[in-house]
Amino acid sequence: MSYEIIGISVLWFFLYGYLIVASVDFGAGFFAYYARMTKKDHLINQLISRYLSPVWEVTNVFFVFFFVGLVGFFPDMAYYFGQSLLIPGSIAIVLIAIRGSFYAFENYGSKDNSLYMFLYGATGLLIPASLSTALTISEGGFIEETENDVQLLYGELFSNPYSWSVVFLAIVSVLYISAMFLTYYAHRAGDRPALEIVRKYALFWSSPTIIASLTTFIALSQQNPEHFQRAMDLWWVFGISVGFFITALFLVYTGKFYGWAFIAVMLQFFVAFFGYGASHLPYLLYPYVTISNAVTNESMAVALVIVFIAGLLLLIPSLILLMRMFLFDADYVKGEK
């Protein structure tokens, strides 16, 4: 395999990791706010904060890893994305800053502050929306390269059905993934009242997710027919993804095997995400950047791959330890520690 394929696969894998862990976190923010508005917060917010407070920094590092790795493997992306995404990128930073500080500041007593709860809930939806802009513009048609710089065409971005369907898909997926996870977590904690609520959320958000996936596909066929064609060639991959979706829904509906249900959700997104990624290639940013013209020099690529493997050897045991402490330690989950 060539370095650029290894590089993009590694990065895509981490972006997938971020997609899952961050969705849990972002969606939980929205549910926490919603539960508060509907006066059910005493039922689920305890559950949310027990899991999320210890891990939000780890979630954030997934994201940092992705973008640092992206400009490391493909330095040209720093130029194109950096030049064009100054405003959306900065807005995303600000939203992340608000959210990150929420965990720190809220933990100590301002729990009753409604403004803060609102920001926490709102950023949970706005961050995925603003980050998804990067994926949208990668389809081409939204930026313009001139003699000495690159500009984002805001008019195009805001009037385009594809960009809106991506935003919609990002938001509903976040809510769906998060609700599925919380259902599993509530079940483990043996917290029946919370389980009842989050299970309803999970069922509710499943249909918008599948609808949004379809509309995004249709919009893609308008925006970038070539990419759409490559995706169609991989139709069976997306078929498998739908299969996992139905499995997950069935398991939650029957009210058993919540753990397996969440695994099915993870597989559903894994398969779809990689199908999307594979059909996106060879372009990183259509039509300017392909993985082969943007990849860094060979010695750097080799060094990065080596570091990546060494890093994983360090990370995987640590992550397992973290999960055993907070996710799989029954007493902790139940709130007895």
Partner: protein
């Protein structure tokens, strides 16, 4: 935008973000070291005072870390957003340590998460202490990696430049460039120093204002010992940094020292002003000291600024940044030494209010020294972003909206700063250490009350 060039606003925004991040990053590197030491002493001496110290420091640390993480994420993205051309070029050579840094973050974040939430979950306290080690390593390694990137910008190597592209790239040579050893040493030692001095300052302040108990006196003794050790290391590292500059970046040293003509036995100019002919006035001159600082020999020749082409000279005001940093370094060294002498000397009173006020000042002062040091190091690299290869103007974004982004981030940092302070106040206000000691370790609390009276 607002009458400024895009590149000037870009620089200002980068400077603002980095100077703000530096506050929290420095504590992020240094505080875990002190927490780990305190927890270890607590376990070895079976003295809950130290355990409580570690616990309370950690509680404050969670807040500063959070701000460090969000501002760090901001810089990481801003490097590409604000300096796209620089990152496109330099990324080919220096991506390795940046990438490794993310692993250090992972490592630190994971173990910090575990450390914070597992104080009472182990039967043997030493297991909990062991968890502090990866946090210390993670923080220090992230400082190491990022500092190699900064070193590379000062003394780039490990590549050849052909037609605007880097070829024959050697990532390890780029990472371990001539600036790396001294810079890393100085950055890490000064982070440890600053954390120790900030914590010492807090302990001193509480003894002054609230009388303090045995707990605070132990805290002060521990942190002042650490301050003294790290201040010595920092001064040593600073001296080595100056010798590095003399050899590899003479224009930065010359501008910082107002040393215009090459000469042997050069004097060190301390503070002072410049008149319109660029002559030094009102300064303290230490004979031959600059030769010693630069080469370890009082008669060595030191290269003057005249040997650098006029358009490649850094601004001269960085002289004050250097002098202020060094003055703070010696002040901290002196006062911590004085404290230790008065403590070891039977008749001395290390808790004399005047001395304590002096100690309380070291916290903010060392933090200022960090900022001055970075301003000296970064502005002293002007006009280069990548010394000798790319100027700042060539590296910057051309986006016309950068001014708005500056305003946006200024507002965000203000909110973060205020939120951080308010939250820290909330955590500690009305929850003095004595009360917590009583609650967690009633026996020790009783003993320490007796010890006091």
């Amino acid at each position: 935008m607002f009458g400024f060039e895009t590149v000037e606003v870009s620089r200002a925004l980068t400077a603002m973000t980095l100077l703000f991040h530096a506050i929290f990053a420095t504590l992020g590197v240094g505080v875990p070291v002190l927490v780990s030491i305190a927890e270890f002493i607590g376990i070895k001496r079976k003295d809950p005072h130290y355990t409580l110290l570690a616990r309370r420091w950690t509680r404050g640390y969670t807040i500063t870390v959070a701000v460090g993480v969000v501002t760090g994420t901001a810089i990481g993205l801003q490097l590409s957003l604000i300096w796209p051309s620089f990152m496109r070029l330099a990324g080919n050579v220096i991506a390795l340590p940046l990438f490794m840094e993310t692993f250090a973050f992972f490592f630190e974040a994971i173990f910090l998460g575990i450390y914070l939430y597992t104080w009472d979950r182990f039967k043997k306290p030493i297991y909990h202490w062991l968890l502090s080690i990866p946090v210390v390593i993670g923080g220090t390694m992230s400082a190491f990696f990022i500092t190699t990137v900064n070193s590379f910008m000062n003394t780039p190597q490990g590549f050849e430049l052909e037609e605007g592209r880097f070829t024959s790239v050697d990532p390890l040579a780029a990472m371990f460039n001539p600036a790396t050893p001294t810079k890393v040493f100085h950055v890490i030692s000064s982070s440890y120093l600053t954390a120790a001095a900030v914590l010492a300052g807090i302990a001193a302040f509480i003894i002054l204002i609230k009388k303090g108990s045995l707990y605070h006196k132990k805290a002060l003794k521990l942190t002042m010992t650490a301050t003294f050790i790290f201040a010595m290391l920092t001064a040593l590292a600073g001296d080595l940094s100056a010798k590095f500059l003399a050899e590899h970046q003479p224009e930065k040293l010359a501008a910082g020292e107002w040393h215009f003509e090459s000469e042997e036995g050069a004097d060190l100019v301390v503070f002072g002003t410049l008149n319109e002919n660029n002559e030094v006035e009102n300064a303290i001159r230490i004979p031959n000291a600059l030769s010693f600082l630069a080469h370890g020999d009082f008669n060595a020749e030191v290269e003057g600024l005249e040997e650098t082409p006029e358009n490649e000279r850094p601004p001269l005001w960085i002289h004050y940044m250097f002098d202020l940093m060094v003055s703070i370094g010696f002040y901290t060294l002196g006062i911590s030494l004085l404290f230790l002498v008065l403590w070891k000397w039977k008749k001395g009173n290390p808790f004399h209010p005047i001395l304590l006020w002096g100690v309380a000042a070291t916290g903010p002062l060392t933090m200022l020294a960090i900022e001055f040091g970075w301003i000296y190091a970064e502005v002293g690299r002007q006009p280069w972003i990548l010394r000798g290869f790319m100027t700042v103007a060539e590296g910057s974004t051309t986006s016309p909206y950068i001014g708005w982004m500056f305003a946006l981030f200024a507002a965000v940092y203000l909110v973060l700063a205020v939120g951080c302070l308010l939250t820290l106040r909330k955590i500690f206000k009305g929850k003095p250490a004595e009360l917590e000691l009583e609650h967690r370790f009633p026996n020790t609390a009783a003993a320490s009350r007796e010890g006091q009276s």
